[in-house]
Symmetry: C2
Subunit: 143 residues, 2 copies
């Protein structure tokens, strides 16, 4: 199951911000966008949504930028996905009223729960650690 571009862009940006959370630094939209090859005016919208959801904090003016609103271990991917994917109102589950559609709905429920379990069991901290391991592994090749 694929994430939308919105969600992907949001997650990678948050991982970048998680990496500098300890130092209390900030990153600007343009900088993240450039490093990740994302259209900057588009990324702006995602970061705005994340700010409104209290996942990010923003600082305006020169030397401004974004930073995480709380430690990476306390932000789950489920939070991010809910913010960026669920933004556009409620999806109506107008299942037809037959037993066949009912069992189908039960199956969908099962899928949703498995999905949710993974997403809320993964924090930005987890992704950050995986990222660092990858970077370490990559560095090995150059020795």
């Amino acid at each position: 199951m694929a994430f939308s571009a919105k969600t992907e862009y949001g997650i990678v940006s948050l991982v970048e911000l998680a990496a500098i959370y300890e130092q209390g630094g900030v990153l600007q939209v343009a900088e993240i966008a450039h490093r990740q090859s994302i259209p900057d005016r588009y990324l702006e919208q995602m970061l705005t949504s994340l700010r409104r959801a209290r996942i990010l904090r923003s600082i305006r003016g020169p030397k401004g930028g974004y930073q995480l609103a709380r430690p990476p271990a306390e932000i789950t991917i489920a939070d991010v996905v809910n913010c960026l994917e669920g933004d556009q109102s409620a999806r109506a589950a107008a299942s037809r009223d037959t037993p066949e559609f009912d069992v189908l709905a039960a199956l969908q429920e099962q899928l949703d729960q498995a999905h949710a379990a993974i997403l809320s069991g993964t924090s930005l901290q987890d992704l950050l650690e995986q990222r660092d391991q990858r970077i370490q592994a990559q560095a090995m090749y150059f020795i």
Copy 2:
């Protein structure tokens, strides 16, 4: 995560057909469509796809219709979803080449596997049994 209408319509139709598989009966497109409140000319397309994937068999002429090509226990929901959802060619996973996108891809892989495990672990037989239980339970209320 939501199924497309195509997939939903296909699954409920197959559950109906599974219910009469033992007796070797057939159901016509129009009949299924009417019982499930699905546009019949649209449902036709799904059943055609399922026939081409060797999941259904069809019989033409008056008294014709569709029936399962093999026992319901040997048809998984994964088969059906692959047929109806994956029809339109390959989805390119052109992940950007940064460590952040890499860990994201790993997460997606994890989700896909959980998804696939459920879908290939559920057969039409399973759904049929759930449906019959529901119908039984419903009948209780009328006593």
